[in-house]
Symmetry: C2
Subunit: 360 residues, 2 copies
């Protein structure tokens, strides 16, 4: 059996309450006593049972998520996962004692986001997770929250200047480089123009992907020229218009890298065009549309990040920060997933059947 507070109380010759005070670094213990307790902890190799502690505290962790509204499929998938993480009926035994609430604000609207952050902090949640827009007022809001002792994690798009506690998302520079590397190999030897369609360069993730991609393509040094970036504001209609023009007016178009959302529009343009299609098309995030486009060969690779992992990870990490505990960075690293036609995951999975207890 693992040692308990009782064991270390006995070992140190003090009461439970004193042990608890030392363990939780509360004031009001003579330093000599504290040392005795700490020695006992060391000697017995005591490790706190966090589940029991939380039970005793009746502690629940209120965690607020702030996501962009709108019909970006990735964000809607993230929202669905966030709601699921917060539902105890859906994950008994899992991430417990968390009360998740969720707020959506219009995308790309920094003042609205900053206001939502401040409001989210008002009732002292255990942590706040937010898809950031890179703007001074947002960074200021994050700093204000942290000053009030509320841990903040950015999701998907980072805001390092704010000093946020954690970023749950992929390394977007690496993602851009990966896209560039794939494009180069898919285009091996051929010459031509490569287009990039972004959502908005005021999103840090989009800027970083662009930088990484440009870098990888430059290194290629081959006959590939990078066209000026197009911004489609993650809007399928705008992206479609941009892509149509591109296909019509750029006869030597060899590749397209779509690093934001709105791929529905791109896919439509590709499906309808009468011009020869570019040899390599790389997009971001798995959705019904991109999945189908991959299967049909309209798209050659999808770079993705797992929204379920992001939601769970954000909760775990914020909880760890709230409690002053360690977490495992390897487990919380969000992978850059590369999907080809051949390794597409099954479309959608529900919870496993409950395995009835033996006896029924």
């Amino acid at each position: 059996m693992r040692p308990t507070v009782h064991d270390i109380a006995a070992e140190a010759g003090v009461s439970l309450a004193t042990v608890d005070r030392v363990l939780n670094a509360r004031a009001g213990v003579r330093s000599e006593t504290r040392l005795r307790v700490q020695a006992a902890v060391e000697r017995l190799g005591y490790v706190r049972d966090v589940a029991a502690a939380n039970l005793a505290k009746s502690r629940i962790y209120p965690i607020r998520f702030i996501l962009p509204s709108g019909d970006n499929p990735f964000m809607r998938a993230l929202e669905a996962h966030v709601r699921q993480v917060g539902n105890p009926a859906l994950r008994p035994g899992g991430l417990e004692r968390v009360a998740v609430s969720l707020d959506c604000v219009p995308p790309l609207d920094a003042p609205a986001l900053a206001a939502a952050l401040i409001k989210a902090g008002e009732d002292e949640p255990a942590g706040i997770a937010v898809v950031a827009v890179e703007a001074p007022e947002v960074a200021a809001a994050v700093r204000t929250l942290q000053a009030r002792g509320i841990p903040v994690a950015t999701l998907v798009s980072d805001l390092p200047a704010s000093g946020r506690n954690h970023f749950a998302g992929i390394d977007n520079m690496a993602a851009g480089r990966t896209a560039g590397g794939l494009m180069r190999r898919f285009l091996s030897g051929s010459r031509g123009a490569v287009a990039v369609i972004a959502g908005s360069l005021s999103l840090r993730d989009h800027r970083e992907r662009l930088d990484g991609f440009a870098q990888a393509l430059r290194e290629a040094g081959e006959g590939l020229t990078l066209l000026p970036v197009l911004e489609g504001e993650d809007d399928p209609a705008k992206v479609e218009a941009l892509a149509k023009r591109l296909l019509a007016e750029q006869p030597d178009l060899a590749g397209i890298y779509s690093l934001g959302a709105g791929d529905r529009g791109l896919v439509r343009a590709l499906a309808q065009t009468k011009m020869p299609r570019p040899q390599a098309v790389v997009v971001h995030e798995l959705s019904d549309h991109t999945r189908q486009a991959l299967e049909e060969g309209l798209v050659d690779a999808v770079l993705a990040q797992d929204p379920g992992h992001i939601a769970r990870s954000a909760v775990r990490v914020l909880r760890a920060f709230a409690d002053g505990l360690v977490f495992d960075p390897a487990q919380e690293r969000i992978r850059i997933d590369i999907f080809l036609k051949d390794n597409l995951p099954p479309a959608r999975q529900a919870l496993s059947d409950p395995h009835l207890p033996t006896g029924e």
Copy 2:
């Protein structure tokens, strides 16, 4: 507040003990009473607090892992992660109440594996996780365990015929297809021979990868011919010898797919050869050697599965089976990771610093 057993006892007009009996499907409750309790559960939307239940039961889950011994770097990495999952000091608040023990048996030795399985089942563990070898005696051992009520999960290499409760590993057929798809694109247009180096075809994962690869290459229909499979027994020295012969005697060698272990040998052969190197080399699993080979351009892509994820997932799933609980299949799906030079994860990460509690 979520309803507790007290609430449902009051609602149903019975005592705590009776509620507990119904909740745990234990005998000795009149069916009329049972119905009353179940109705109360429904009405109040009661969900059991698993953490509290485990605390009350003082339950710990003894889980046994059986892995192949030897110097296969992937298996050693898996072993390291398994040991970490079982160490409460390393993951406070995480996967708690699990006592992991680990046993290694010689690779590819079915009788030894079967014996180890039977032995592992002797003291009634909560679950057993095993890297399977496909052999009748192993399947029989697994069935014996299950007949005794012990859930079994296979890791990495599956054994579906045994009726194991769960498989924690990638879809190896899809992995093979993915390798084939990459190879085709990397070789776009060129003609030549493609070699496959496996470990042993008595490992189901190796056979499945081979099948998927062959299938993808056939579909390609281009000028690529698949050479007869080589078996290197996952041994670097043997793999090196095979690869050297291949490089020397196959002048039109366009690609190599190494789907087992022993890649150290392959990398050495590639580094030392004076012949032109094949245009595309795809291997499995990230290790110091394959990572470096990727960075140096000796290898073009690494397919991988995350050993940390496999270890954690196996424990979560076995625990869910032991308790008759649901789990989230999407969370437990092991991804086929594709690593290129550009999206290599950082080499190694330790636990995050403990965030000291406020007040100290």
